[in-house]
Symmetry: C2
Subunit: 220 residues, 2 copies
Amino acid sequence: MPVDVTAADMERLDTLVTTRRRIRRGTPLYSRGDRFTALYAIRSGFFKTRVTTNDGREQVTGFQMAGEIMGLDGIVSDLHTCDALALEDAEVCEMPYERIEDLSREVPALQTHVHKIMSREIVREHGVMLLLGSMRAEERVASFLLNLLQRLHARGFSEAELVLRMTREEIGSYLGLTLETVSRTFSRFAEERLIEVRHRHVRILDGKGLEAIVASANGR
Amino acid sequence: MPVDVTAADMERLDTLVTTRRRIRRGTPLYSRGDRFTALYAIRSGFFKTRVTTNDGREQVTGFQMAGEIMGLDGIVSDLHTCDALALEDAEVCEMPYERIEDLSREVPALQTHVHKIMSREIVREHGVMLLLGSMRAEERVASFLLNLLQRLHARGFSEAELVLRMTREEIGSYLGLTLETVSRTFSRFAEERLIEVRHRHVRILDGKGLEAIVASANGR
DNA sequence: CCATGTCCTTGATCACGATCAAGAAATTTT
DNA sequence: AAAATTTCTTGATCGTGATCAAGGACATGG
């Protein structure tokens, strides 16, 4: 949260979170069509968000972990436009949107913070568009692993090891690939001694090598 | 702009726009790395935004027309992370970001408005991710045409005719396709009497037909 | 008006990743 | 602990869209 806030501000910010909610693995935090009332900060656990269409298409739009904010999609129309599903048992802080708006007016640091969170999400999605629009399968998978790694590292986890919380199919949906291609790409990386894969446990043997794959720029 | 504002508020909102800028075709409104200072409302003209990487990759992230807001990508880091280029001579209203923040605190309707604009952009990008991640070439092109058409129609233009302001290559970059595939898809649609294409002039003969292609859900 | 350069179209071929298929390994349920 | 289900891996084949290539249509400027 913001840094340049007074003690009085801090006291106010404490009133932002009204409820903590526990979300069981496999269940939704919110779903498309739900009335939008609050933003959610993840305390623990791991989520995916996805958009779905009436004709059955589905696209995973992101994976979220502790400290990240969910629900921004609902602001524009007062309805959620995507689903947020817990990939493991999770806990979130519910922050009523009305209260966020009210407090933002009184605490400029919060106002700026909220704007930055939304802007960050827009920039993140630009990155995903770049990935989906111009990278080949190997580059997408390497990019995905490095991104997860970097975010986990920022949270104090190992830089060289991670446990995937999602299936190959969910990774594939996110990356615009089939689950088979994701699996094969993992296997190829393992053959090349870039990583070790055992189911959902991934160990990074050659991070530089993965970065080199992303930067290869053999894109279309 | 918002509706539930008093006359006094309106007066304040008038001070939001400090400058009007004319942008020549082919020149940038802002570029990656530029210091972020303002948001821009398009008065007239047509823009593309794109992200670029050091290794030469490029991805068009959107096409913007009159009434739409540009620059949101810069809020998070005080630097712009993408380029905005005029595809035809254009005019924009410059709205200093500081002033937006100040006024938002005093005029709740503006605060809500700004949040909705950012949320709308996030939702729009979800749609693009769905397109890039799960649609085949025909579906992408049909979806692109229908989206442009709908936005132009909302601005009082014909529902059945449009002039493309961008090249096949720019369309391709946006849709994650090569320019050849875009061209061939246009030709195929023309053969099937869904559209007529003469260079950048497109006439819609069968809008329902295009919608049927998008809804076909033969996605991967 | 012609020359130059950009943009677009169309054809031929190729390759990447999808699809279909089957079996193995985990995980969950009973 | 065994059974059932889900998830993952690997192989074989296919198809869409990329790539390479060449010619034609416009637009722009001298």
